[in-house]
Every structure is written in structure tokens, then in C-alpha cells.
């Protein structure tokens, strides 16, 4: 069974600060590295994703950094806002995997 480990389990960041969430995986064949965002009462939704041909992808305040040798990728939220408070899941995979495998989730709270 694929192992996907997220850290930290929960995170509190002050408004304006940088939030960093990490995801570690085992399968070196993975070639798709997404982060999902879930607000209370809603299903998760894709936030940002990266392919391994690049080491970093930025979309607005959200950045994915990918470290192939360490088998890790991380989500950075710059200038964190209270509206970013949510649970974040990574779900690395590739076409060879039959199904998605989600990480354990990180509950992010941004305080004023």
C-alpha cells in the first residue's frame, strides 16, 4: 500500500505569515503532485498541482516546491489570510496507480 505522510497535522499561522505544509511519499514512479483544499462543510477541491519536470510552481500566493531526491513536496502559502483557514490534503500519484491516495490532512488556522 502506498504511504503518503503529511506534516504537520495542524498549523497555526498569524495573518501575513508563511504557511508551509509538507508531503512525503514512497513511490518514485509518482509524477503528479497535487494539493487539495477543504473548507468546513465542503468537499475537497484541487488547489494547485505540479508535474516533476519543474521543481516549483507558483499560482498567486500558493507555491508548490518539489524535491524529487527527497521524495517530498510542499505547499507554501505566502501572506496567509484568515480565508486560507482550511484542511489541506496532498494526493501524489501517477497513471499507473489505480486510485488516488490522500495524505492524512493538515488543518491550517490563520489568526488575525
Amino acid at each position: 500500500q502506498q504511504q503518503v505522510k503529511q506534516s504537520p497535522q495542524s498549523l497555526i499561522v498569524q495573518k501575513g505569515g508563511i504557511s508551509i505544509i509538507n508531503c512525503a511519499y514512497e513511490n518514485t514512479a509518482f509524477d503528479y503532485f497535487p494539493w487539495y483544499q477543504q473548507f468546513p462543510g465542503k468537499g475537497p477541491a484541487l488547489l494547485i498541482a505540479i508535474r516533476p519536470d519543474v521543481s516549483e510552481k507558483k499560482e498567486g500566493r500558493f507555491t508548490i516546491s518539489f524535491n524529487k531526491s527527497a521524495k517530498q513536496f510542499s505547499l507554501h502559502i505566502m501572506d496567509s489570510q484568515p480565508g486560507d483557514s482550511a484542511t489541506y490534503f496532498c494526493a501524489p500519484g501517477n497513471f499507473g496507480n489505480e486510485k488516488l491516495t490522500f495524505g492524512t490532512g493538515t488543518r491550517l488556522t490563520i489568526i488575525p
Binding site: 497535487p34 490534503f89 500519484g93 496507480n97 489505480e98 488516488l100 490522500f102
Partner: protein
């Protein structure tokens, strides 16, 4: 519809009763997933359908749980003889298949067993 639709949105049932939860995936999506999420917890995989392949039932917690997907579209998750520990939000997701494609989630069904 434009997104994944789940019904009912809320269900309260008595312990020991059977319940059926429905998922209507995005048209054209070949993959369909069911997950369970307890309050404040992560996503617990239940079952995965992909095209005409045999479903991956490896996440079903007991034989009281079953799911079917008719005509490669609508799916029904059935829980027989419900127990209080079955109380959770049941989420359905669909995608074009494979673990390298975006999964679209429904809003979930909140099941409460009293």
C-alpha cells in the same frame, strides 16, 4: 449537472436501519470514489470504481457496507444495520481516471445514526 451531486445532503437514521446514499458523478468521468470523513478527521477511502473493471473494495470497513455503480454512472453506497460509529460525512468524487487526474468532490452526505 456541472458538478458531482450527492443526495441526501443530510440523513438521520435509527441504529439498525439500512441507508442508501447516492452519488451522481460528472458526465464522462470513468472513475468514482467513495470516502468517509469523521469530524475533523482525514479522508478514509471506502471503494473505487474505474470503468468496467472490478471495483476496489479494499476500504470497506465491514460487510455491512456495499456499493454499486449502475451503467458506469450513478453510484449508491448502502450501509446495512447502521451503527452509531457509522456517523460521518460520506464524500463521493469522480475523475477521468487514474491517480494523475483531478478528482472532483461532491458536498457530501452527513449521516447521523441515533
Amino acid at each position: 449537472g456541472a458538478g458531482v451531486s450527492q443526495s441526501p445532503s443530510n440523513k438521520v437514521t435509527e441504529k439498525g436501519k439500512d441507508v442508501e446514499l447516492r452519488c451522481d458523478p460528472i458526465s464522462g468521468h470513468t472513475a468514482l470514489y467513495w470516502y468517509r470523513q469523521s469530524l475533523g478527521q482525514g479522508l478514509e477511502f471506502l471503494i473505487y470504481f474505474q470503468g468496467n473493471s472490478a471495483p476496489d473494495k479494499s476500504g470497506l470497513p465491514s460487510d455491512r457496507f456495499s456499493a454499486e455503480r449502475t451503467g458506469g454512472s450513478v453510484s449508491t453506497l448502502t450501509i446495512q444495520r447502521t451503527q452509531q460509529e457509522d456517523s460521518a460525512v460520506y464524500l463521493c468524487a469522480s475523475s477521468f481516471g487514474g491517480a494523475d487526474t483531478e478528482a472532483f468532490f461532491g458536498q457530501g452526505t452527513r449521516l447521523t445514526v441515533v
